[in-house]
């Protein structure tokens, strides 16, 4: 059982929905990013999605792309991202960390070496946007063998015929992408998302978490109500981008997690 599995068991026992927060590792710099990440559990975050900076984030909108660029400009790398997770783990051994990013920095490091380092850093799961099931042998299967969850994205274009393929080899939870589009663009509509969540849940026992287009406590509550939890990324990253003090960022995160937990 990974920390992710344990977290969902715990949330289910409490009758609570999950709140997942995304931040870019090293944005705007290592120290401030670490301070934000360390504050997330106290702000009600159940699972941390830690963005791995990449120069060419093709599935992300301008907000997250700019965050990655800030992090890279401040000297962030894959190794420093894992160092940040290691540092976090010194004071928190229960909050799951999912590393989210693109394949090239991992491939460049070498899959086996990366998995060793990620395990050692206390990473629990991976979301790698540009690795669909067709490329499972690259990282998904080795990651699962190494005891890391590999969390797959399901999308509005994943039809019933394809869904089993997407769910196969997925573990931890399923991340439903609420819109066709990039992060931080269109707003998720609970009315459209609900039947999709039902469709996916009828095909898997894994929790289904919904992300993309969720930017307010109300949205988080609405989406969490019809799923197993909500992810907020760009809205939090925007607060960091605008230079707000860490306490302000965390108080915004708290309002979001309160929203999701009301559901």
């Amino acid at each position: 059982m990974t920390r992710i599995d344990a977290k969902f068991a715990d949330l289910t026992a409490q009758g609570k929905k999950a709140f997942v927060a995304y931040v870019m590792a090293g944005d705007p710099d290592y120290d401030r990013s670490l301070e934000v990440v360390k504050g997330l559990p106290g702000a009600g975050v159940d699972i941390i999605e830690l963005g791995l900076p990449f120069t060419d984030p093709m599935a992300d909108g301008p907000t997250i792309q700019a965050a990655g660029q800030r992090a890279l400009d401040a000297g962030m790398t894959l190794d420093r991202t894992l160092a940040l997770a290691t540092e976090f783990r010194k004071t928190d051994d229960t909050t799951p960390i999912v590393l989210m990013g693109y394949y090239n920095p991992i491939y460049s490091c070498g899959v086996d070496a990366f998995l060793d380092k990620a395990k050692a850093a206390g990473i629990d799961g991976l979301i790698v946007v540009d690795l669909p099931p067709e490329e499972d042998e690259e990282l998904c299967l080795p990651a699962q063998a190494a005891g890391l969850n590999f969390i797959r994205l399901a999308t509005p274009t994943t039809d019933d015929a394809r869904l089993p393929r997407v769910l196969q080899n997925t573990s931890g939870f399923v991340y439903y992408v609420s819109i066709t589009g990039i992060t931080g663009a269109a707003e998720a509509q609970a009315d459209n998302v609900a039947p999709e969540v039902t469709r996916i849940k009828s095909a898997t026992d894994l929790p289904v978490i919904v992300g993309f287009g969720i930017n307010s406590p109300e949205k988080a509550e609405g989406i969490a109500a019809i799923s197993d939890g909500a992810v907020v990324g760009s809205a939090i990253v925007s607060k960091i981008a605008s230079g707000e003090p860490v306490a302000e960022v965390l108080s915004f995160v708290k309002s979001l997690s309160d929203g999701a937990h009301r559901a």
Partner: protein
């Protein structure tokens, strides 16, 4: 490795791989779309009516076959091998790009798509796409790096005249790679009505194979024309490489002819060294994953993609088509690089010896011809791909040669 390969033309495999390279490294949202595209392309490929339509338009709209031209004065000047040029710069829209665009747009129409998006670097692919969209009455949106919008102004205006919307891309450093990112972002947002018309032999499977198949008309014509002119195949074929589509189109029909030497010429910018001020992915990069495929990339030790550098906007891409990556590894093709200065020299020589103003892209191929032709015997036949005309580049070249186009000499007389 070489002896393990019994066919050079059987790729890609079912996973869209050429050996290690290629594949389908895209987000889940796009995956069903590229699977459908693959199905449709597989159907079209064996449908004679698809190819009838292609050949009709190639003949009557593009002006194919393009001539194979013996460059007599250049040959004399270089004093060695016999140099032929495949004149794809004479195509409608001035480059090889339209060969592929026609194929993809016919496919898009068969799939019922009404909105076409494209990325462009030098603007040649954007112009070709805007042209064919105008011909068929399709909406066209072209993503172009803001830096390229600036240095390729004539092509931007052409696209606008043709009714396309040109979106300047400011993310990253505003070049071709960033334009491709934004085109993918558009596609992932507009999945129902939009067809992504990729301009080179890169991207997720089936694009590298599909674009190669459409561009292969170049090499097929060269085989016939060279046989008619010389009674045999060329000894060496040479083409410039950015993403690698004109080169793949020339090379592919010769891959099984082991006696034909194949040379791809990359953009060496200011020189292929640790300063990385070049676009020579094969000679100066290493394998990685970007834009849906695994291939050689310009990247740092952390796997972050580097911006290329070249005088030629059309070669300014940090990757390369995956089939080229494979051909390099198995040794079937040789890949070299030439610098901006060498390309400029070739550009000028071509103007004054042959009366052909070449684009900066094929000027790179020509620069390598200038290096090797003098070392080869007179009965050695080289065919280089003159894949684009240089009208779009005269401003860039003028600047590099210190010619002031805004001065009285260069100004248009009203």
């Amino acid at each position: 490795m070489n002896e393990l390969v019994n066919s050079y033309t059987s790729g890609p495999d079912e996973q869209g791989r050429f050996g290690l390279y290629g594949g389908r490294f895209v987000s889940e949202t796009l995956m069903p779309l590229i699977l459908r595209l693959e199905d449709e392309y597989e159907k079209a490929k064996t449908d004679p009516s698809f190819w009838d339509e292609m050949h009709h338009l190639w003949t009557h709209y593009v002006g194919r076959p393009s001539p194979l031209y013996f460059a007599e004065r250049l040959t004399e000047h270089l004093g060695g091998a016999k140099v032929y040029m495949k004149r794809d710069e004479l195509n409608h829209t001035g480059a090889h790009k339209i060969n592929n665009v026609l194929g993809q747009i016919i496919l898009a129409r068969r799939m019922g798509k009404t909105r076409i998006i494209a990325e462009t670097g030098a603007g040649q692919h954007g112009v070709a796409t805007a042209t064919v969209c105008a011909k068929f009455g399709l909406k066209c949106v072209v993503y172009m790096g803001a830096h390229d919008v600036e240095r390729q102004a004539p092509n931007v205006f052409r696209m606008k005249l043709l009714g396309a919307e040109v979106v300047p891309v400011t993310s990253g450093r505003g070049t071709l790679k960033d334009a491709m990112n934004d085109a993918m972002r558009d596609w992932v947002t507009n999945v129902h009505d939009t067809f992504y018309c990729i301009g080179t032999v890169a991207g997720p499977h089936p694009y590298p194979a599909m674009v190669r198949d459409f561009q292969s008309i170049i090499g097929k014509e060269v085989r016939e024309q060279m046989t008619a002119a010389e009674g045999r195949l060329p000894d060496t074929v040479i083409a410039a490489i950015g993403g690698g589509s004109n080169a793949m189109g020339l090379f592919y029909p010769f891959l099984e002819d082991k006696e034909v030497g194949i040379i791809g010429v990359e953009a060496g910018g200011k020189g292929v060294d640790e300063k990385m001020q070049h676009c020579a992915s094969l000679t100066g990069g290493r394998p990685g994953v970007l834009h849906g495929n695994r291939t050689y990339l310009l990247q740092d030790e952390d796997g972050q993609i580097l911006e290329g550098f070249s005088i030629s906007a059309g070669l300014d891409y940090p990757g390369i088509g995956p089939e080229h990556a494979w051909l390099k590894d198995v040794g079937r093709a040789e890949y070299v690089s030439v610098t901006d200065l060498e390309a400029l020299e070739a550009f000028q020589l071509c103007c004054t010896t042959e009366g052909i103003i070449p684009a900066l892209e094929p000027s790179h191929a020509l620069a390598h011809v200038m290096k090797i032709a003098p070392t080869l015997p007179a009965d050695h036949i080289i065919c280089m791909n003159m894949c684009g005309r240089g009208d779009k580049d005269i401003f860039t070249v003028a600047r590099h040669l210190g010619f002031d186009m805004s001065g009285p000499e260069g100004r248009n007389v009203e």
